[in-house]
Amino acid sequence: MMSDLNAQAIKKYGNSFLKEVEANVEEGEWVKMCMQCGVCSGSCPFGPHWAHPPQEIFMMIRAGKREEVLTSDSMWMCTSCYNCIVRCPRKLPITHIMHGLANYAHRLGLAPKNQPTRVFAKMFWDNIVKTGRVNELKLSLGLYFKDGLGPGIKTALAMKDIGLGMLKAKRLNPLELVKGHGCKDTKGIHAMLKKAREIEDRRKGFAA
């Protein structure tokens, strides 16, 4: 289904990736306003550790490098510190664009599968959607074991003192592992989210 979306998008926008970003990415219409000064990249505390800092990502979008941008893990590295937004002389909402791009890449199925931020975000989402509440225990355990049983046990052991401490302080309930508490109207939440997704898809022109 995801790759269908991708094929549709390619068909619709041809080689104008900029137009595609403007139409589908949150705050994407701002990309064309970048004047390539590089202040964002220079301000980003993580900049040096990514393949493509924001300035470069925006340039790549304008140069039509669709595949490279959407499969990049750069936008997943943004920590939402907002340094770039504060400093951009053109007032681009850079942080939002970065998240918008990540989201769009994910929906098209192009985002790097094992990108840790993506995995965590997805886990968090699935976790919260299930009962309408975050089940912290399941979420953290899920995170520990995301790379398999062996590494999971290792991490769990390393974190055990913190876990016991939280248990003592009544910040952690082991029973959550079994069932966990939900919200009053889980069904309602599910229906609401479904509706929201429908609306968004319609607005962005994705087939339902």
Partner: protein, 733 residues
């Protein structure tokens, strides 16, 4: 000077009375200065003090006054006595403010003040109150050469101010480059869309203006004379010559585009590659419809190549930025986007330069979807029915990025129409007749000198409109690259400068920077050896030769810098109030202590435009410097005659410091070449020193800017130390 009656006034205000023995100063003025009348006053610039002086002038018949108070640059309104000759002894900024208080300094401080009083007395006795240029002439007409936006604006502005204008345009119509444009860059809020050029309106206003006389298809065949009395021969289409008499000239001869055929690597010469003017032509032909190439194909993708043959460090093409082409390309991209947002418009730039409100215009283009790509184009080549542009993407560091385009527009920049380069010897055997704009009948050559990159210009920091030919004001893109908005502002400035020149010439006064100065140079023919140094060294081409090969001073062209006076080996050139004698007498008036006193004397000749104000400001900031210097302001270092230096050394000064403005290519000299001439002359001083058996360090030349408020005292103190090291001069009596 039989009827000379001299008076000295010693001020006790501003702390002078507490820090100095003014009674002793008064004695010095009458005993050494030999002044007929000497008065002390507790507050000389007060209305009471001024009234006292005025009373002496009116009722005592005083003709020459020496005021011993503050700097000659202070209280000029109070001490304004236009009927008498006046000198100033700078005791405030020059003595008490730069000397530390305390008994151990008192003696040398007082000696300094005594000397300045002696110097002022000696100077004023050699002065004559100037009467003004006898060749003064009034002519209220401005000649404007060039009928483009700059020329038309200058003409209209001069006319509005009540002056008549003669406008000479070489083509058959007014409008110049702007008339070839489809639209101009936005120039008012919200700076979002291309605007009408406004050329038609300007032309209509010119035609309706009875004060403006227009010659079309005409050129200036000859320019003769000086401010206030130029005679212009205008060659008209019919071959006949019309003569006009004007008071000042505005040269608005504009620019031509850099020839894109010199840029084959960028596609110059290929079909479907145009320069910015070529695109304007296509846009005008489209007249609001879709823009088509010469072959009729509608343009769907267009690439703009910025800095095509500009900002070129290799020296092959233009080294400079033409300043308007980024905005012009942005405007031209909008031509496409405004008609059809689906046309792909890509601007490949290295640095996008959008000065002033241009930034809003740039943003507007981004909003309209113009793509801006930072990169450097390496080639433009034909590909199928279109073109392939290869460039180095500087953000992604992709050396072989490519774009296909139906049309490529090269931003080639501006080359000034500044006429003949008079500083460049004409190549022998080359049979191209250089085209002069003004055909000046000056011995220096037919056009105004060029500053850098062929632009006609003068003092780029202080007097941007003024050329080195007084009364002639280049404006618009012939002066520096610019767009329409800037050219209109520039032309307004030039028109006002032309008016100033007319008014100064009419009153027999100097133009800037000594505007208002009534003195003018004269020479004594009996002594003149016809060496022509003055004629050659005058930075402003003010001196011609007569049939007998004597110099002829065109006073209204003269800026009163004194460079000629400094140049004259037999010292026959002088001004009424500034001469070899006025300065020489000051130098000689200084009391030189004997060799064993450990009190050296250092003469400082300081340019009154920069160095002297810097010294005054050092005083205001209470920076201290050596009490052994005696400072004399000079109009320009160019006016320094070497005899002053020889005389100073011969009479026992231990060192001489010359302080002038920066010279050379980045000059700041107010008289353009004055400080350069001085340093050239000084380069020969070493031999003189050696022949006198003196150390070469005894004469030092410094470049000083008006901002060197802390540096100048430091220079003086360092030099005083140096003199201590070398030891006292052996020439003391």
């Amino acid at each position: 000077m039989a009827d000379q009656k001299t008076a000295a006034y010693i001020c006790q205000g501003c702390g002078l009375g507490e820090r100095l023995d003014t009674r002793q100063l008064a004695q010095v003025a009458s005993r050494d200065g030999k002044m007929n009348l000497v008065r002390e006053h507790p507050f000389l610039c007060s209305s009471e003090g001024v009234a006292m002086i005025r009373n002496d002038i009116e009722n005592e018949g005083v003709t020459h006054i020496a005021i011993a108070a503050c700097s000659r640059r202070a209280k000029t309104e109070a001490f304004h006595f236009p009927t008498v000759a006046m000198s100033r002894a700078n005791l405030r900024e020059g003595v008490i403010w730069i000397r530390p208080e305390g008994d151990e300094h008192q003696e040398t401080t007082q000696e300094m003040a005594d000397d300045y009083v002696r110097m002022a007395c000696a100077e004023v006795k050699k002065m004559v109150q100037p009467a003004g240029n006898p060749a003064a002439a009034r002519n209220d007409t401005v000649l404007v050469v060039g009928g483009g936006v700059s020329g038309m604006t200058a003409a209209l502005e001069a006319s509005k101010a009540g002056y008549r204008v003669v406008l000479v345009e070489k083509t058959g119509a007014l409008g110049g480059m702007a008339a070839k444009l489809w639209k101009r860059v936005a120039y008012k809020e919200p700076f979002a869309d291309p605007a009408d050029t406004g050329v038609n309106e300007l032309t209509a206003r010119i035609q309706a203006d009875k004060n403006i006389k227009v010659y079309l298809n005409a050129t200036v065949a000859k320019t003769d004379g000086a401010p206030g009395r130029f005679t212009i021969d205008i060659a008209t289409e019919s071959g006949s010559i019309s003569q006009e008499h004007v008071g000042a000239i505005v040269q608005a001869s504009g620019f031509t585009l850099y020839d894109m055929n010199k840029l084959p690597e960028l596609g110059g010469g290929l079909p479907n590659v145009v320069d910015q003017l070529g695109l304007e032509e296509l846009a005008r032909a489209a007249n609001g419809g879709p823009i088509k190439r010469a072959d009729g194909v509608e343009v769907k993708t267009v690439v703009f190549v910025q800095c095509a043959g500009q900002r070129d460090p290799s020296g092959t093409h233009l080294p400079y930025c033409s300043g308007h082409c980024c905005l012009t390309s942005i405007k031209q991209a909008m031509y496409f986007k405004d008609r059809n947002p689906d046309v792909d418009t890509v601007v490949i730039f290295d640095d996008l330069r959008t000065p002033g409100n241009g930034e809003d215009f740039y943003r507007s283009a981004q909003r309209k979807g113009v793509t801006f790509t930072k990169g450097k184009v390496s080639s433009v080549a034909s590909a199928g029915n279109g073109l392939k542009v290869t460039f180095h993407d500087l953000i992604l560091d992709d050396k072989n990025a490519t774009i296909d385009a139906d049309l490529v527009v090269l931003a080639t920049g501006q080359v000034p129409n500044s006429g003949v380069n008079i500083d460049q010897p004409r190549e022998e055997g080359v049979d191209i007749k250089p085209i002069s704009i003004l055909n000046l009948n000056y011995r220096q050559g037919p056009d105004v000198p060029q500053l850098v990159h062929g632009f006609a210009d003068s003092h780029f920091i202080c007097f941007p409109y003024e050329s080195r030919r007084t009364g002639i004001y280049p404006t618009g893109p012939v002066r520096r690259p610019m767009d329409i908005a800037q050219a209109m502002e520039d032309a307004t400035g030039a028109a006002l400068k032309a008016i100033q020149a007319i008014e100064n010439a009419a009153a027999g006064r100097a133009a800037h920077p000594r505007s208002g100065d009534l003195s003018y140079p004269t020479f004594r023919a009996e002594g003149c050896t016809q060496c022509k140094r003055c004629t050659v060294e005058c930075p402003f081409g003010a001196i011609d030769e007569d049939e007998k090969r004597y110099p002829v001073f065109n006073e209204s062209r003269c800026r009163r810098c004194g460079t000629c006076m400094g140049a004259c080996p037999v010292r026959v050139i002088s001004f009424e109030n500034y001469s070899v004698d006025t300065v020489g007498s000051q130098i000689k008036a200084v009391d030189i202590p004997d060799e064993f006193s450990e009190k050296p004397r250092i003469l400082v000749l300081a340019c009154e435009n920069d160095a002297y104000p810097a010294l005054d400001m050092a005083g205001m900031k209470r920076q201290t410097y050596s009490a052994f210097v005696r400072v004399i302001p000079v109009r320009c270092l160019g006016s320094v005659n070497l005899i002053w230096i020889t005389d100073a050394l011969n009479s026992g000064y231990d060192g001489v410091m010359l302080m002038g403005c920066k010279h050379g290519e980045q000059y700041q000299c107010h008289f353009v070449k004055g400080s350069e001439m001085a340093s050239y002359r000084l380069s020969k001083v070493d031999d003189t020193l050696k022949s006198l058996n003196l150390e070469t360090e005894r004469v030092q030349n410094y470049e000083v800017a008006i901002t060197d408020i802390e540096r100048v005292p430091q220079l003086i103190n360092d030099y005083a130390e140096k003199i201590k090291e070398i030891g006292m001069s052996p020439f003391k009596f």
